[in-house]
Amino acid sequence: MGKLTIGSFPGLVGSLSLDFSVKLAEAAVRKGHSVDFWVSSNGTMLSKKGQRAFKDYPYLAKTIEELFKTGKFQACACEACAEARGYHKEDTMDGWIRKSMDWYLASCFSADRVLLIGGE
């Protein structure tokens, strides 16, 4: 079993690319791998507390909660990216880490596979 580091930039709801990265994390954990999940840019929206489910929108917050419970998944939001957008520590969903970009690079160091979803 290996370690997958995913970096994801696209914003919540707007792009199915963020959904892809969450579904991929889910599948990797289901297969027994461990996943580090890094969000930067508009991807930090995923760490916002209090997201609401609507029929028109994917509700990824729920999947993230389930992933945390597996113990094979950690998620970290870029602190400056979040602050710029007005998401402070108290706005962050339980379970999330908030760090600088060096956290992601350190995760890449020990990863077997890295997938960076950069553009939108």
């Binding site: 290996g2 997958l4 889910e26 599948a27 791998h33 960076l116």
Partner: protein, 98 residues
Amino acid sequence: MKLAVFKSDYKTGGDIVDRLSAEKLGIIFVGNGIYHASVKDGGAADPIFQKNANFYVLAEDLEIRGFNASQVPANVKVVTYDDVVDLMFNDYEKIVWV
């Protein structure tokens, strides 16, 4: 190297995919990239199939766009999220998203 390329868009990124080469190259159509494997613009085969590569398409991303496995060319393997994880860990070593 063994390189897997997620092709996530239909209209952009062709320039970079064109020049990527690898001893073993896999191209996995996801997101709007699935249109490479499901529509023919003007009736012509998509130029991406000129690459010497293994081609895959994500079933879930076909289905939300109204397509199914029977509509993709025979040289494109239809895969699930679980299969994608196996491809990433077992068949390829480096992974990029375009």
